[in-house]
Symmetry: D3
Subunit: 146 residues, 6 copies
């Protein structure tokens, strides 16, 4: 069986309720991972970038240099690309979104050694027209070496 | 708080271990959902389509007409688009994948009423070069009215 | 020979002059189809979505639930994707468009039975720089089960 | 009202039955246009390129140099991009197609003068799974200066 | 060995310092090419189109008709597509750019004969977050028959 | 003025003749960069990945772990995406290519400090139909933190 990957940790974190979420954080911080969770609602794609970056910087999960910021940016871009399944747009296509995100930093698989650290970004939420109930779920995961 | 969506049911099913997976199936079949889970390893994108469609037909989750097959096809396509984050290819780009999938059919949110049934397809697995350990996780979710 | 498809009905409707357009509407309404035609000029992609949705709702062609609105939205998205041939944008790329659209709802082929109804959206018009004569034609067709 | 564009000529040609098709050809050849029509059925995208190019060369619609071949190639590529609405693939995504195509060369609009000749390529047909009736229509139009 | 292509002329022009740039211009103007170089800094993709088109019109490199403007527009679009590697956006994805561009018109390869003239557009610069040093280089080249 | 970036080093290397190429290699190896150059001709996109990876491994430019291989893979993918300007395909679209590539590893800008090393991949060559002279130039650049 596959070992638990950094992506699965982030997926479990974003899908958990508040209480379980705290348990997951504690469990993986003990194994050397950093984890953060947040949320954002917007019709503007760049606010998703900004919300994730702000949460990561606030928790000191990455160092303030371009080398690490670039890896984070690419991980967010891949998560966004998956979340929108092909055409990245909200207001332009009459859509809005409310989503929760999780970011995890550490080894690629628990107990493994891939030659350095990785960062995983997950977005999970609802995309739809700006009208209650006219929306469905979406998910996106981006993983980068950092 | 948001009610549980059909996407989250499929995500929880695909991320669960074998035992929990059976519990989830039982729990949501009681609420009127159909659920199926399977796996496929390949360097050929069309085998992902084929594996999911075969599992769905075998479980009689969709009726044998083009109307329903078309909705399933689009749900798989969206899941694949999210899984590959922008460029859908495996062998062409020297990559291979091993993944598990889950398909769920029923209401868009548990206890809700959106005017008809929906189908959710999730793919979760590892994409990488055909070399042990040189791979990372990916996820994709597609949801269609059926 | 192929039977007449719902796409060809919509294409013929959008390409016809005003008078022929009325004849086509009458002819296919007698066979159980709903048809609507309209136009929009804009530098803003979301106005295309809005114009088509407004026309469809005004004619009561779809029921006011998310199940049907979602199918319409996907049909418009596919028509827009075809109309712009790869990169969906107007103002961002210094372009404007004036187009006519047609929407048809009914069986996939005249006299056929595919297990349910379908919706076809066609966009036909001119895309170009905001300068008289500096533009050429484009077309897009999206078809979804509804 | 808009004058008839080269795209509409090609669209009308491809949608017409055999007899009307001959009338359209005669009518626009008298106005200085070249027109050709053909068909292809395949699971292989490059056969669409090959079928259109072969028909165009056989009718001497373009000169045997790279300048004109390049314009034709781009017009076919845009038509294909529109026909597949975002992801250009057939066998890779378990799909097959049978289509008719039309190519027209001449002024951009009838009686107009845009500074040179143009070429329009239209593809119209059915895309679906390799199973009778499990398919729907698609259309694509590409226009290039030549 | 390959002869020097119009793309390499444009690449050398954009990468050269001011002085060498003048030498390259003189050298290829003697061989019948037209060359122009300029720069633009923006968070708005359409300003890249506008800056290149303005420079080209000011130097009378293309005739004021849609036939030639269309070829230029497509060459810019291809250069932009290459520059952004897949997803064309700046402000939307929290990015800004400062770039230099070069446009060259003439034969496809020096001393060759491909049946007409061609236009090459190169963009070279830095893309990144709006924060000093948080950016890296990008390049894009588009070539069209004109 | 901007300092020389890692991308410009790779661009100059790939565009240089054999002799100048050796001078560039020597000059930047003295500043702590690793540089490699090679070539590949193919109708198969994955052979471009394989040729670049093989050259890089042969020169020991990256360590044999997934962390570094992943960064290289992404840099190649971005270069390929730029080289093909939107649709990554060769045989599928009746095209072939002959190209030269350069890979450079080191600081993001000469004398700078961005918090770690980077890798730049450049592809430069001709793409066209498999017929002498029916081809034009293309370029692609991908840069990743490593």
């Amino acid at each position: 069986m596959k070992d638990t990957g950094i992506g699965k940790i982030a997926l479990n974190l974003v899908l958990a309720d508040e209480e379980t979420s705290q348990i997951i954080k504690g469990q993986y911080e003990n194994k050397g991972y950093s984890l953060v969770r947040g949320q954002v609602g917007t019709m503007d794609v760049k606010k998703i970038y900004a919300a994730v970056e702000t949460a990561v910087f606030r928790e000191d999960m990455i160092r303030e240099n371009y080398h690490e910021e670039h890896a984070l940016y690419h991980a967010i871009s891949e998560a966004i690309s998956g979340y929108f399944r092909g055409y990245v747009a909200l207001d332009t296509v009459l859509r809005t979104t409310g989503l929760e995100f999780a970011v995890v930093r550490g080894e690629l698989v628990v107990g493994g050694s891939s030659g350095g650290e990785w960062i995983a970004v997950v977005l999970y939420g609802f995309v739809g027209s700006p009208r209650r109930g006219f929306e469905h779920e979406a998910i996106g995961l981006g993983i980068q070496s950092i």
